[in-house]
Subunit: 139 residues, 3 copies
């Protein structure tokens, strides 16, 4: 059994989803593991990871809009206001999704469905440098 780790960063452009599937796929390919488990981990509390549809880009816009309505910026109910009106909502949106996804590797590839890609979901208005850690193990 072999294992490898890798780290990369993505600069987001404000709220929305950023496709990181290609970058992950390229790294997985180079590890030459036929059967195993890949773990994707995001080192932040105001962004998150989601697996979403890769066909119609409107899905990504609608998803982002829904989270904006469900957890509106500037909600006066929040105590934590010091980092801006979009900070506490960002933490909540992160908790409603997740910062880790593990995917089986089967026949040398991630076992994603046809329509599944992996995205960083940025919840802050400002561009941010987001760090992703990958871990793979297998044979």
């Amino acid at each position: 059994m072999k294992q490898f780790t890798h780290q990369f960063a993505v600069t987001t452009q404000g709220k929305g989803l950023v496709n990181i599937n290609r970058e992950i796929e390229n790294w997985v390919d180079r590890q030459e593991i036929l059967t195993g488990l890949l773990t994707v981990f995001l080192c932040h509390t105001s962004a998150s990871l989601v697996i979403q549809e890769n066909a119609d880009p409107d899905v990504l816009l609608d998803l982002n809009d829904f989270f904006g309505r469900l957890v509106p910026d500037g909600d006066p109910a929040h105590r934590h206001q010091s980092e801006g009106p979009d900070d506490m909502p960002a933490h909540i949106r992160s908790a409603l999704t997740q910062v880790q996804i593990s995917i089986p590797i089967v026949q040398g590839r991630m076992a994603l469905g046809t329509w599944q890609d992996i995205y960083i979901f940025e919840h802050r208005d400002s561009p941010n440098r987001r760090k992703v850690v990958l871990h793979i193990l297998g044979n």
Copy 2:
């Protein structure tokens, strides 16, 4: 350290939760792994996985109803309408839950609590064939 993968499909019957614990448990038993890690992965973006109470079936109905109220079908706010009024809401409900769950194997069994079972949460109205990929590793 050994590892195995397995794939199976479940036909859902419209919105709601389908218990897949027995099928997973039977496969885990046959791998004869005493200590290890099981990963369950669902290859879809309009259904998801949840661990929920296995005692009172009303919990499953209430959970499904809540998600129906939180993310109503036919919301005119969505751009993505081409696949029907229940499609974009299904993607959002999937993002609010998850498509992957990993469970430690301890003494040859999944370390689930007494009341925990694994379910597919179908978010579309139509019956769908949903693909599940399992990965286990351990000794």
Copy 3:
């Protein structure tokens, strides 16, 4: 490749977040694994796990309050009322978060970001003894 499992319990004090990072970190340190994967699993359906900000404690209060507003106790829409007005909402809040988180181990430490700690999110009003199972594998 080595692997180890561990189990511990935490007594919560009603709704809110309980930091379990130190306890997990101490156990990880003792396993002397430089590169690997840690899985944290919570054996319950009315509490959950989240990774959240460890700097401003107001974030934890705001997060708990938000979930209280999103999934209010005593909602008459629920069929499942027999275990109290906070039980079905607790199951829903658990489904909206998760009961499992896996974290890569890099250079002997969990690859958490600077602001990330692991918390149990208690969703019931009463104190509860919550069981956590850890699994680590690596070298």
